[in-house]
Symmetry: C2
Subunit: 208 residues, 2 copies
């Protein structure tokens, strides 16, 4: 049975998935530069042929995943109507997803086929409908809800998420988009199954 | 110069210092039983003559502290007017403070002198005034803002706190009193100076 996973989502000690003033030259906003330092360090470790809990998470993110869902702010620093179709995501012509990737947005736009198997689909449908489409595209594999915080919250509120691999980074953004907010009693369905210290982060696994 | 410190305050992964439904038989509320398990384990380690970062924190809490400030909900499970003066705190006749301890409450009550040097003073004065009284009582030593979350937040909002030793416990309360909420930009004045994994907790030191 395919799972719906939040994979390697990172929050600050004060609970934010991004700082204020997200923009092109600071996609995660102010005071969030070091939020994903654990990931850079893990990538460097992996290049050296070494491993640790963070390196394992890099691989686990992709293992058995057949579709990704994200919010528009994760795809683009632009807000409101699409002026044109020149913005093609933060990841260049060969994004790291390599499968169907659904982008929640109120503003219509044709699907965008990239190199390497990633196709971005833009949708204003409810989360349940988008998840069904993603499930079909994933063909038995898992679905990752990639972020940002408000997109994850929508799926949490709807009770649609099975597991969360969370990192807490030694960073204070002092504001921004909070992950565990306005989700009612959703977290009462989860338990913490493990905790691990890694360089520049604490990995906490939450399972329904 | 004496410091104003939040010492060993513990929050859940979802950011709460206590769960919902705080009451006499569950002072920290629902789903919060294991919030302070790190502390019980540290006390057991200390009894065995062993040490680690959590054991060091037990000692550090008290080192050079001359006054404590807390909210009424930390002193008592009772709400509203004091029916009588029979409630004398959660700690028995010899509380672990051993110095002047100020309790924020809207409801007047005479000071309460306990064994071992602790005197509880009940006050509805503003945080700045209470802190001045505590500073005088501390006589050059540090002042600990003990909790709960809403009391810590009041002092954070007023910019009065110098350092926070925070534990994040592998617990989800799914609701309750959030620590880092409604404090404006207060946390932008702080940096994370260290992180340490301890059994059943992550210790994070925040300094102004």
């Amino acid at each position: 049975m395919s799972k719906v996973r939040v994979a390697n989502f990172t929050i600050s000690v004060d609970g934010f998935g991004s700082g204020v003033n997200q923009r092109l030259d600071a996609p995660f906003g102010d005071r969030a530069d070091n939020l994903h330092e654990w990931m850079e360090l893990a990538m460097a470790e992996r290049e050296q042929g070494r491993t640790n809990a963070a390196v394992e998470q890099l691989d686990r993110y992709k293992d058995g995943v057949g579709a990704t869902i994200m919010g528009r702010n994760m795809f683009s620093p632009l807000r409101g109507e699409w002026a044109d179709e020149s913005w093609r995501g933060y990841w260049g012509e060969n994004p790291p997803y390599h499968h169907a990737t659904f982008v929640h947005t109120h503003h219509k736009r044709p699907s965008l086929e990239m190199d390497g198997g990633t196709t971005f689909h833009f949708t204003s449908e409810p989360v349940e409908v988008v998840l069904e489409r993603a499930r079909e595209a994933a063909d038995g594999k898992d679905i990752v809800i990639a972020g940002g915080a408000s997109t994850v919250r929508q799926y949490l509120r709807a009770g649609l998420i099975d597991e969360i691999d969370l990192f807490i980074a030694p960073v204070l953004t002092g504001g921004g988009e909070r992950l565990f907010d306005d989700i009612g009693e959703a977290m009462r369905e989860f338990t913490v199954t493990s905790t691990a210290a890694v360089p520049k982060g604490t990995l906490i696994k939450l399972r329904r």
